[in-house]
Symmetry: C2
Subunit: 197 residues, 2 copies
């Protein structure tokens, strides 16, 4: 992913506040109409900026959208260290359950990324990899505490499990993946898979 | 879901062969352009039929698409009984891994169903529930053989797990969910979760 692994350009022309306003305009438009309907013109109009500014700062629509999602920090992943694996997981799924609107936005972007390699790379770098890193840090702590074997085969599959809970709840059960369901999922599937002996 | 639980209307005017041709036209158009771009006009033109015929037989685009998917039987689920739970699961994920194009079609329809309740209900009735029923029959056999406890909390979550393997492989690892990965997933996650003691 060379296009997204480069350092982001310096943004000497925009204050952090102005940058935040532009990102908020992107998020609002994503919520209103999804990724495909979002245009640089629309973002410029909504944020009272110019297309030239957007292209100068972000280069392309995929990069602008990915940076807006990174800046928005859906379902904040900071300070997740409760002292136990189950505690960390329950805290995590509680935050996920409360971030319903964020997941709708992520869904529209992830779907568009299926046919847009630049967007897929930018989305992965801005959101997926940071989430994977947080989960890895969580399980590293569990391994250090002796709760999980360091070579547990399910360790690298934790992100897949959490995504399955989300997608499956909607498609199979036609219900929202709220914190109650996700907590049951953690106890029925995630913890047994991670701590199998 | 009253609209889809009604018996399907009799199709006295179309032969099974003609019906199959119409469904194939739907699948082809889904593969080419996705759900949103598909129109009744397009299906009529591709299958050399009339919009009137399509509306008379299926009523709406969501129903026509759902019936086409049901008829196509993505990743055939028949004859999955190998005599063991692991054998059944490995056979199943082998079929899933070979059905890449079918999952692309399912992805576009499932995404559209997020904002289309009629399509969501039709898709659930035509595809999701039959898949859930097959998985239920598979785990019922495993329970009868004593491989799985009848009250194992992970039993109703098997569909969610398999969806997570698919979605996660694409989004997290940016790779295709092929049979090799899915087999590892079965051994690392699915079997430990189902057979925990």
């Amino acid at each position: 992913m060379p296009s997204t692994s480069q350092p982001r350009p310096r943004r000497t022309r925009l204050t952090p506040e102005r940058e935040g306003e532009l990102y908020e305009a992107v998020l609002t438009l994503l919520r209103e109409g999804g990724y495909d309907a979002l245009t640089m013109e629309g973002v410029a109009a909504r944020s009272r900026s110019s297309k030239a500014t957007l292209y100068r700062q972000w280069g392309t629509k995929p990069r602008l959208v990915a940076e807006a999602l990174r800046h928005h920090r859906p379902f904040g992943l900071d300070n997740l260290d409760t002292g136990s694996l189950r505690g960390d997981l329950i805290e995590l799924v509680g935050r996920i359950g409360r971030a319903k609107k964020d997941f709708e936005v992520l869904g529209t972007v992830a779907y568009a990324a299926r046919q847009d390699e630049e967007l897929a790379a930018a989305l992965h770098a801005a959101l997926v990899q940071p989430m994977v890193d947080v989960l890895r840090a969580m399980t590293d702590r569990a391994v250090a505490r002796g709760e999980v074997a360091p070579d547990a085969p399910a360790l690298p599959l934790l992100p897949h499990l959490l995504m399955g809970a989300q997608v499956g709840r909607k498609l199979v059960d036609r219900r929202e993946p709220d914190a109650g369901f996700l907590t049951c999922f953690v106890d029925a599937v995630v913890l047994p898979a991670l701590t199998q002996t």
